[in-house]
């Protein structure tokens, strides 16, 4: 087993449906596995620049995110190293990716780029559902994305994760854990779920 520090980073906003994918996978990993000290699971939210400290400390970074690859919704797609910033800059889906690409540029300016960079991304189906959870096809990719992280850790970085006894996730406040968040949603009558059709349309037209 190597002694490299590995950051498993979920990014995205849990309040916008499939945008929360990366954070939800990290939450699920935290619940399912015992995480050794050299691996850090991080719910990065939409913090952008503020994630720099965590990234600088890492030798290896595995990013989990909803990414617009131009593939059918619910497709899981993994990329490595130089392809990662390229996809984040070419096809930006939401604002946090602008922030994240900037973070990578800053790491480079400071000479702190991680040795290895991996992206486990899913093509989202729906973003414009404020207060919503993961859509069915994207939710179905949480387990495969977890398996891919476990595989990467084991095959590429020499770390075998051991399953944990089921327990409540400690990664985030229980109220916004996936189950409580999705179950506690007010009805569409009580809480409007759609936004600006102009922005939505532009979002999908790229």
């Amino acid at each position: 087993m190597s002694d490299e520090r590995i950051l498993v980073l979920g990014i995205g906003n849990i309040l916008w449906a499939d945008e929360g994918f990366g954070v939800r996978v990290v939450e699920a990993l935290d619940r399912a596995y015992d995480i050794p000290d050299q691996v850090r699971l991080l719910d990065g939210g939409t913090q952008g620049l503020y994630l720099l400290p965590a990234l600088e400390e890492a030798d290896v970074v595995i990013i989990l995110d909803a990414v617009d690859y131009g593939l059918p919704p619910g497709t899981l797609h993994c990329l490595a190293d130089a392809d990662v910033p390229a996809v984040l800059s070419a096809r930006k889906l939401s604002l946090h990716q602008t922030g994240f690409q900037e973070v990578l540029a800053l790491l480079q300016l400071r000479g702190c780029l991680p040795r290895a960079l991996r992206l486990v991304g899913v093509q989202p189906h729906t973003l414009d559902d404020y207060g919503g959870g993961l859509t069915e096809g994207v939710a179905a990719q949480v387990a495969p994305a977890m398996a891919e992280v476990v595989r990467l850790l084991s095959e590429e970085f020499g770390i075998a994760l051991q399953p944990a006894a089921p327990r409540a996730a400690g990664l985030m406040a229980p109220a916004i854990g996936r189950a409580a968040y999705e179950a506690g949603r007010p009805s569409a009558d009580a809480a409007c779920r759609v936004g600006d059709e102009r922005v939505l349309r532009r979002g999908w037209d790229g």
Partner: protein, 604 residues
Amino acid sequence: MTIQTPNGFSLDTAGRRIVVDPVTRIEGHMRCEVNVDSNNVIRNAVSTGTMWRGLEVILKGRDPRDAWAFVERICGVCTGCHALTSVRAVEDALNIKIPNNAFLIREIMAKVLQWHDHVVHFYHLHALDWVNPVNALKADPKATSALQQAISNHSKSSPGYFRDVQNRLKTFVESGQLGIFKNGYWDNPAYKLPPEADLLAVTHYLEALDFQREIVKVHTIFGGKNPHPNYMVGGVPCAINMDGDMSAGAPLNMERLNFVKLKLQEAFEFSQNVYVPDVIAIASYYKDWLYGGGLSATNVMDYGDYEAIQGQKSTDRLPGGVILGGNWNEVHPIDPRDPEQVQEFVTHSWYTYGAGNNDKGLHPWDGVTEPNYQLGPAAKGTKTNIEAVDEAAKYSWIKAPRWRGNAVEVGPLARYTLAYAKGVDYVKGQVDEALGRFNTLAGTNLTAKQALPTTIGRTLARALEAQYCAAMMLDDFNHLIANIKAGDTSTANMEKWDPATWPKEAKGVGTVAAPRGGLGHWIKIKDGRIENYQCVVPTTWNGGPRDPKGNIGAFEASLLNTPMQRPDEPVEILRTLHSFDPCLACSTHVLAPGGEELARVTVR
């Protein structure tokens, strides 16, 4: 056509229309349209929030004790201040008094956030409006060293140090990875710094990155983790045990507290030796660019924050109130509970209050968030591709909050104007000293009343506020230690944790001096659940559209009468808008495509 607004501004829509969409280097998504006259001076300005935010409505029916965790996710930069405002609102509604240790720990966390946010804003989001990083490559490091030594006694000031940074920058630029510095207009004559000052600022940009890594550790210690530190209704979720060990999840002990103290001291020194001197030095090269004041010259507002004595609002170290008409001799008291004071209007916003209520103002406790997207008759383009909005009709996803019907500016400049007018010693000392140094460097003789209500003044107020926060949190820290040493280790009041102890119905309000200005959350609780929740955020006050009477808000007012060097390069527009540190993510809902590297500019 010229329009005279009731709040004293003159708008002329005759000239060419310039559209900037999106406005870059902000949090969230915004559009700005201006009209310029034949001399390229801005004569009309229209600020549009282009995203809808539905945060309030998704909280309906949730447990009030959980609201902080949701609001912490509204946006990526001001997570902690929403969480703090939320727990304050719930505690207000349920009449919960938190232990003094919890009060002090929250105060330190809030000021760390304020300090951190201001530093990140200046060096990472705003500096590039004044500083040309490409020009820094031409600097003589010896000249930068001399400049550094002239403006402060910062320890890192040798020519070799600056040469080293310049070499790193050169390698970075030559590799074609201009990245972060790509979205600029580097040959625009609006940039005034000599190369040595550009190199100084770029160097401190990198130092600020080093520093932000350290300061957030304070949030990890008090909040359990970062990002997204934990908050709790009734107190703070960390225990104090001075004999505790350092194992994971360990409570606060002396070793951790000593670490916190060290970081707070370093923050103060960075403010004193780097951030404040940099702003003054950069400003001195822009002494002829005193635009951008807008509404701050007349109307400013804050709720007040940073009580010296817990529970005594009159001891606020940044006192609240409202100044109207530029009369610094009279500060009106503000009460966020009074239904006649804070009201939100939707006459020009894409919301509806129901038929016949288009021009009505609603207090946040009675607030309604129901979308109604329609363009006015003079708008150009279509609903899915707007070429120009019609500001005579609805034109923004931001509501228009008003204080007793008056448009006001909020933010560090508003707080500093109020504190200066009220004669707060620390603030008065800071402002007068900074002005003295500015006047010496620039060869000017400006008074506070001339210098503060400007874009530069807004940026200076933020730097001074960061320094004041660092000084205050060291004070809070000393009180915390004294409290603990006196045997008080309580950090939470759980008497009213159980909803069975709550009244059937309750309502409360929480306010915080957030980095961008006064932030308020209003909550109504019924049968143990959230019945209504409204956030009125700083960028709503500053970036909101016109009201039924035609008063314009702070963003629009700040752009008026500013000359543009090149209308298709909106350096001046971005400079002034950035000085507010706009955060559209919480003032509107984010679901934008995002991400254009360069602000798109259309001239019509």
